[in-house]
């Protein structure tokens, strides 16, 4: 009788406690919950680059992909672009691809930027912000590192140094 009371009470308290813990956890993580988190399969997408070539993420299976979201108006993006370009030229023969997604700007502006900074890697414009939405990108620049199996291994927001770029590319070398 007493034992049963203890068991019943324990079960009821555990159920209530679990509900409370879940609610608190969900509340704490609601702002930081990522759409695409480390360990997730990177959502596939298709974009056309400035030269008219089609790039589909899943076509790069077997290679590491350095996926960078940016805008010409964002100062840290401007800073890190030359570093990415340098490292791209180092790593492109070692199976690391750079895909650079501009958010909803005009071709004129992006082309001017590419000419000014002499960028060699493919640059594409996400005209309807669909890829940005799929990846849940909020602040620019944002960089996703995707390994040869298409899994996200790192997510970084904010400016990158050249060392960081090198380290990142090294980490996704197949």
């Amino acid at each position: 009788m007493k034992k049963r009371r203890l068991v019943t009470r324990t079960i009821i308290l555990l159920v209530l406690g679990a509900a409370v813990v879940y609610t608190l956890y969900a509340n704490f993580t609601k702002d930081s919950r990522l759409k695409v988190d480390v360990g997730d399969q990177a959502p596939d997408f298709v974009l056309i680059d400035m030269d008219g070539n089609k790039h589909q993420l899943s076509d790069y299976r077997g290679q590491g992909v350095f996926l960078n979201f940016w805008g010409t108006w964002c100062p840290p993006c401007k800073k890190e672009m030359p570093y990415i370009n340098n490292q791209y030229n180092q790593f492109k023969d070692q199976g690391v691809q750079v895909l650079s997604v501009d958010i909803q700007e005009s071709e004129l502006v992006v082309n001017q930027f590419v000419e000014q900074y002499k960028l060699d890697f493919p640059i594409m414009i996400d005209k309807d912000k669909e890829v940005m939405t799929a990846y849940g990108v909020d602040l620019l620049p944002a960089t996703f590192l995707i390994d040869k199996n298409g899994k996200v291994v790192k997510y970084h927001t904010g400016e990158l140094t050249e060392d960081k770029v090198r380290e990142f590319m090294e980490s996704i070398k197949p």
Binding site: A26, N27, K30, V46, L47, W73, E105, L108, V109, V131
Partner: protein, 541 residues
Amino acid sequence: MKDVKCECGHVNPHGTVLCEACGKVLDEQEANKSKLLDMRYEGSARRSQTYNKTVIDKIWNFFSSVKVGVWLIVITLIASILGTIFPQEMYINLPPEVYYEQEHGWVGKLYYQLGFHDLYSSWWYLLLIAMIGISLVICSLDRVVPLYKALKAQRVTRNEGFLKRQRLFSASSNISEHDIEKIKDHLKLKRYHIREENGDLLAEKGRFSRWGPYVNHVGLIIFLIGGMLRFIPGMYVYENLWVKEGETALIPETDGKYYLKNKEFILEHYDKEKDRTFEQAIDRAGDVVKNYQSNVVLYKEKGESLPGEKPDLQKIKEYKVKVNLPLKFEGYSVYQSSYRSELVAMTFSLVKKDSSQSFGDITIDLKNPKKEYNLGNGYSVKIINYFPDFEFDDNGEPITKSRVPNNPAFVFRMISPEKPEGETSFVAIQQTIEPPGENAYKMAFKGIDTQEVSGFTISKDSTLWVIILGGIIFMIGVIQGSYWNHRRIWVQRKNGQIWIAAHTNKNWYGLKRELEFVLADTKLTFPKDQLQGEHEEKEEA
């Protein structure tokens, strides 16, 4: 801690005040306390304070206390009041870590640090609500189970002390079987359930009103669960979406399935001439908006497309979204919530400065400007640089602040037969900068095109039904407990007399009126109110 056996033979749980079966006072301290019995929870063992051995029991007993529950509610109320002193985070424009200290000094800083700025999401507030929920469950369980058992176990024949110490009580010496039959008939007319044992009688009605508070609590708990469900991804959506006229946008949180096209945004004002009734009001208040409306088309994606790919869209329906008339589909509602005008194009004229002769106009699509505009006859204009949201940076270089064309600026190269290599000119709104040396041509500003952008709120609340269900059950509980009374009348033979005792959980006046009817035309003594009007009514909590 042993169960208590009453002299009537019934075994009661430890802590019982009144025997569940016969009503004898088991706790003698209680017996000497007052002339009348405390009938709350039928004197059942509602709080097993003595089972205090394990941590589980201690936690249980803490939440089982109504005092604790009331304090939790009071603290939550005070916190909610404090949360209204300064504006909540969602209503301020500055980052909260700056705003509260800047506006309200150290009090504001403390307010922010304690989490009052986002009260409903602060951990301690959620914890308080959760504790109220737990208290509600445990308080209810701890009371409803013993109460149910006690009411089920009650016997017809009651202990003398129990009857004597009911608020309404009388003893009549002249016994007539005829009177007893009459009482029974009267009780039946008043829809009492009558049970008889050894010539004793118990008439009872409205017992189910005793469950009212607990039904009410079940409703509250369902309500709280509904609130909790909001945290489960996909259950609750509240997002903003801006769509320019003529454009189609993906509706967020629909798994990339639904798209919304904004055909047209309409803003109507009240017209003094047409709406004569409002003439004075319009004179006083100026322009008054009559209607905010977006004519939209809802599309669903056929098949699957990858982000970035042109989706294959199937038209679902056209709709005019107005304030409070949202577009509804699959649990989602699209509300008209805002609008703004956006610059979409600018028109310039290539003009020769000395003759003011124009050699043609160019209209620049600000979202997608062309590299070169050919005006024929050897005249053309090239855009060397475009800054949609222009400003000078710290080094005096022109830059753009964002991708939105709020303040467009251009570097033009004007090519004419006289100057085939072109002349350069920097043109921003109300500002032209030319290189040293006179330019023969200029880009004369002619006009702008704007387009309306509708602001929508996308909302979906799958928890609403749970909350409504909780609310309905809550109200059923309230009604059940308020509009019915649990009344009992005992007519029993003791010491060669007829004892009449009566009890109700509320509305003693009603019970007395009913007793008048029941005892009418009998020689039995009418029960006396032993409270003697000290308190007119004492309600059960």
